[in-house]
Symmetry: none
Subunit: 217 residues, 4 copies
DNA sequence: GATGAATGAGACTTCATTCAT
DNA sequence: CATGAATGAAGTCTCATTCAT
């Protein structure tokens, strides 16, 4: 019915479509993200990834040599562009350090609280980084270091312009403490589910209030 | 003939000692904690739990009906006493709200940074809560709610005594933001390893500084 | 019928018999020999080995960690006793060097020509030694070197007693040439099948004749 | 647009050159010989044959319908010319039976010991003949029978001329025993590797000595 | 109670073969 | 003719669970 030669009521896609690599690769990565998100690394099944992608099991191995490599590629492919976009948007910062900080925090809560894809990724990163050294390195270098870097630059600029207290940029650990609540929210969401985790909007507002009080001179 | 006095040949005693339930159960739970901590739920092997406990595989099933149940029993058995002890120590709070807050934060960083057993548990809770509903409920009710409760009481007491700003106790999400950095540290440690995670001492100091600045009137 | 609870006409052995290791191991090795002989190393299937042994697939892995190790154990277990028995029987050699040589050659043709188990082993050794270094080493040290050693000792004894020409024991390569026809017969049998290979009896007689003519002074 | 003059970017030309059957066929057979020699029949991979030939996997199936047929074609294509050449060189035998025999033996050890292509073929013939009936028939008819025929003719000529003992030509199995050491050398080389196999030169000399002693009247 | 041999479902992965392009 | 993406059957191996001893 939906395809030529359909003799009955089968799932209707036994058809062998040949796609260019640039289309097939993201198709597989999308399916893999779904599956890894649903079951974690160890629980995910290659057969299920294939089913989600609508292809045969073996084809995955044309594109990725093993489950491990597929997993890393999945996380990398999804995390990097998200984060790079975030960083670009900060490069052209519009106003005072205070405003930029507010924007930064808002964006963090937005990503963590609303974007299901990013939350999924965050969860995978957290639960699997301990088992996959390369993933830990990836998180450290491409996510955490960049985030902390942005915060530190903001603290320095705010101190230079007189908006923030001057002793903060040099206090070790300060950027981590500033950033932590934003990152803790998705951890809670992951552990407790969206409905039982602390309310994102409340945390965002409280976080703003605390930062303004703590950073202003 | 096959009795216990035969000390002749082998150095390893198969032993086959019949132990009462009260001794065997914690022996198994200890071994299970080690194994689950080392490999996560999915990666853990029942045979390895048995080996660590020095018993045969089959014996585990006399005490726990399945891997899942063993896992839940393990987390429950280990988390509850740890946390109850922590709460008891706060009940008898010694001085001003400011001092108690400092003690609270110190204790959090201490547990997270130094006690390997607690860090192990924390890791298991984080990585597996999403898959084991009962674990999530346990965390929410027995760990997170209690912690937040303590913080809220402190904020209220500090506001009442004039030490802290009066608007904080009623701000929703404030306790979460205050607590988050303490909890984020073990998450980072879990993900990155102790040596690559942010420095606990620096975070502790920065956290103190920020809280004092943010909470004081 | 042949077992309790037999509800129909099934192969009648779903029964889980627990055997001591000393009985199960040779049972598996026997089955493995059959399967490896029938299909070669690469073609053999672990599932088929299990079926021949009447056990479940997984049990093989209790006894041998991998297909490769099972293969090596199979060859070792079968070759060593056969060869050691042969060597022992020569230790107590009865008469003149000439007679012993005749006995040796006879035994070689007998083993090669008639014992199906030894022929199977020989075939496996030949076809797989090139791919399994440990097997080649095993053949060199435990089969070829010993065989050549026996021949060399015989040549020396015959020279000492005046039965054989005195220049032979020191000629390098002589023992190899003496031995080669005995070993070539099973190669031909393997390649061509028993019916199309050269006739063992004819070769034995011709080999005797040639050796007597060549070795006598 | 996609034509051959584009030398701009890549150093590897995908080429897609359309070749006549007479060129493509030996190209594939050469690659197949390499691969089968390196891994045996079961271990050989069609993809690797294609890679060695510098073509796509699918193209092999334009020329050979299956792996089995490719294998047979490979052995046939390589063995026949080699052996025919050898036989031609004997047809014009120059001198006495004794000299011809020496030449024959020398050539055998030469082929076996030095020509890597022939040794490769020999190995394939030995290891796979048992599994491929057509290969066994080929070996029997085109290799073994011819070789034995040459030896028998030589024994007869030597007996006729008085150089050799007169009883040999009629002794069944004699030609096999005369020939066996020459053929056993490459078997050993295959099993043990060139460095661990018996020394070809020593065997050649010993073989000469034994034959002269055994055949002379 | 205690053991560990035994089971069997199911996981990852390979590769001969097909076929859309 | 030529390509290499795509298929799917089949293989090795793992491990939670059972049960004869």
């Amino acid at each position: 019915m939906s395809s030529r030669d359909d003799t009955s009521s089968l799932p209707s896609r036994p058809q062998r479509r040949r796609l260019p690599v640039e289309e097939r690769t993201p198709q597989i990565l999308d399916a893999a993200l779904e599956e890894f998100a649903a079951r974690g690394y160890a629980g995910a099944r290659m057969a299920e990834v294939a089913r989600r992608a609508g292809i045969a099991k073996g084809l995955i191995y044309h594109y990725f040599p093993s489950k491990t490599e597929l997993f890393q590629a999945t996380v990398r492919a999804c995390t990097r562009p998200t984060f790079e976009a975030a960083e670009r948007s900060f490069a052209a910062h519009p106003g005072s350090a205070r405003e930029v900080l507010r924007t930064l925090v808002d964006l963090g809560y937005d990503k963590a609280g609303n974007d299901p894809r990013d939350r999924t990724l965050f969860r995978l990163l957290i639960t699997e980084a301990a088992n996959v050294p390369e993933l830990a390195a990836f998180y450290r270098e491409e996510v955490l270091s960049r985030s902390l870097g942005i915060v530190r630059r903001l603290l320095a600029e705010g101190a230079a312009s007189g908006e923030f207290r001057p002793d903060l940029p040099d206090a070790p650990g300060y950027a981590e403490v500033v950033l932590a609540p934003v990152l803790m929210l998705p951890v809670w969401q992951m552990m407790l589910g969206e409905q039982d985790a602390p309310a994102p909007e409340a945390m965002r507002a409280a976080h703003h209030a605390m930062l303004m009080a703590a950073l202003s001179r």
